[in-house]
Symmetry: C2
Subunit: 343 residues, 2 copies
């Protein structure tokens, strides 16, 4: 008696096998598995549950998706999952999605527009129920998604665009607060290390930096543009150091860049914050452990992720396009010149 006698289905157990084993119809199995839409007698339900357990039945998600037109899956397209900001965002999105019963399909565009488009198309073909897109572009092409009638939400969407679902952060206000803080420390020459965006759009962090300077009646400090990476920051930092008018403070558009700047400053024997103070943007975990610890503008990543996933669900229910711009929080640590435990 090595085999359960009655039948040994070749493939994995199906709903049909369960029905046969429990001596009921397939509909009843469905009702039990899904808890509806019809009621089932307790005794019958027990029989079915039993059959399910004995047979080790697992519903086939593909069949369900085909029937229902929904895969309970959302797609996420980010430039680079090894960038701490995006990896945290991806984690938060996965949590938010899982909480609602959705799985997350992750794709990296590597800052490459062609790859981004390919990812989006691919996700659309896979019948995901929504796409979260952190585009390399300011104003990405969403035609594929629109055609396929797949809801989407733009991440990192910091400008308001009419008719666009987006979540983002108030870049300008955040940057402005950081620079104001630097100004509060008495700095009058504040440089900017700014990341470069694919579309050459002006980043609102630059605006915030400018505004704070203007507001305080200060001259525009030197600017170094580079990629949003550690090595980009490193290069930019060296350039700023070599500039004719070396600033006494620097605002960096990302924590990763600040980490690179820090290295450039250390290598040059420049004391931070003594000789040059530093503040940056993102609020990554890494920023808390640099030396000195970075004063940084923190983005509410978890809230943004929740809002993004909710945005997809709302869009599926035919809600109006929504934009959520979140406020940031200035995390004051030591790189700005504030006395820490060890100033």
């Amino acid at each position: 008696m090595t085999t359960p006698a009655t039948h040994t289905p070749r493939g994995p157990t199906t709903r049909n096998d369960v029905a046969r084993y429990a001596g009921v119809s397939t509909a009843v199995v469905s009702y039990v598995v899904n808890g509806g839409p019809k009621k089932v007698a307790p005794a019958t339900e027990a029989k079915v549950q039993d059959a399910i357990r004995v047979l080790g039945y697992r519903p086939n998600a593909a069949a369900r998706a085909l029937k229902l037109g929904s895969s309970e899956t959302i797609g996420l397209v980010i430039p680079d999952n090894s960038n701490p900001f995006f990896s945290l965002l991806a984690h938060a999105v996965e949590d938010a999605a899982a909480e609602r019963g959705y799985a997350l399909v992750l794709t990296n565009s590597d800052g490459n527009l062609a790859k981004e488009r390919r990812s989006v198309r691919n996700l659309a073909a896979r019948q995901v129920d929504g796409v979260l897109l952190a585009s390399v572009l300011f104003d990405p092409d969403l035609e594929d998604l629109e055609k396929a009638n797949i809801p989407w939400v733009l991440l990192n969407q910091d400008h308001k665009i009419a008719g666009v679902n987006g979540v983002g952060v108030d870049l300008a206000a955040g940057a402005q607060a950081a620079v104001q803080h630097l100004i509060g420390h008495g700095h009058t020459s504040i440089g900017l290390v700014m990341g470069t965006n694919v579309g050459n759009d002006v980043d609102d962090r630059e605006l915030g930096w400018l505004r704070a300077l203007e507001e305080a009646g200060l001259a525009e400090g030197p600017i170094a543009r580079s990629s949003f990476t550690r090595s980009g920051g490193y290069e930019a930092g060296k350039r700023l150091l070599a500039a004719a008018t070396r600033p006494t403070a620097i605002f960096a558009s990302s924590d990763m860049q600040a980490v690179g700047i820090l290295r450039a400053l250390h290598e040059a024997g420049v004391a931070v914050p003594g000789d040059i103070a530093l503040a940056s943007f993102d609020g990554s975990a890494e920023s808390e452990y640099t030396w000195p610890a970075l004063t940084t503008v923190e983005q509410p990543v978890r809230e943004m992720a929740e809002a993004a996933v909710e945005g997809i669900l709302k869009a599926r229910r035919k809600g109006e396009p929504q934009q959520r711009i979140f406020p940031t929080t200035l995390r004051v640590r030591q790189s700005c010149g504030c006395p820490g435990v060890f100033a």
Copy 2:
């Protein structure tokens, strides 16, 4: 003439719509879309391609998955995508999967066994074609996967276990090399900061540390155990600093821990590598930008990801279980005491 006259299907375009529009059978559309298994006359093919373009047809992946019994999707379960090591791994896995036409479903277990099991079950139910699992456990329960007949590969699988598909790295050899290097700098008291594993299994990095010490005839240095995080390293670093016999060098089981240790040392005014030298494990991008830059044992993450994805595909083709243990590379930078650009 606002509507294409003939028909306005309610839902998205199906293969049927295409067939009708092109005046062919649905089979032909299939042949064209999939490039087989039958040949199609060039003229017919053109008609079909045309219909596809005009109608904006996209194949329904769910239907295809149902029919073929494969979703062209693989699942990845990692403890924490915001941990730099795993985020890099996830990125590499996504690349490897995408290259082969597979999408990646990402889930985080948050170091929580219950969540890990839930993830695995969920992936199994979703008919993924394989699961890549970086378990919190040494010897995880793979019953769900086995029952569902879903191939799996264990990541971070550093021991050989019979009949188990796994890829990993030679932890002991890597750790040993790092400690040997520290010994080469003349250190005789080398502490260990070791992460704690859920199952309380002895980590081979500890073994490697021990071996190097024994081999050199040195006494066992002090050990501080903590979580595999920056804050874990920070706490452990402080403990080692307070120990009766303060070591002159420390080997840390992860870069993140080393980052925390670095902070503890800086705060205590201990010079690195002058007073205490440091080496760690992983080879993360962050390790290159700490101050001083970390000497670290680099894992070949991309190769491991490739091997893992290949392992899934091989298992689908009914290959024998395989284990690939990769060698590591010692990246010598400044934290160990080697003269850098700025020693």
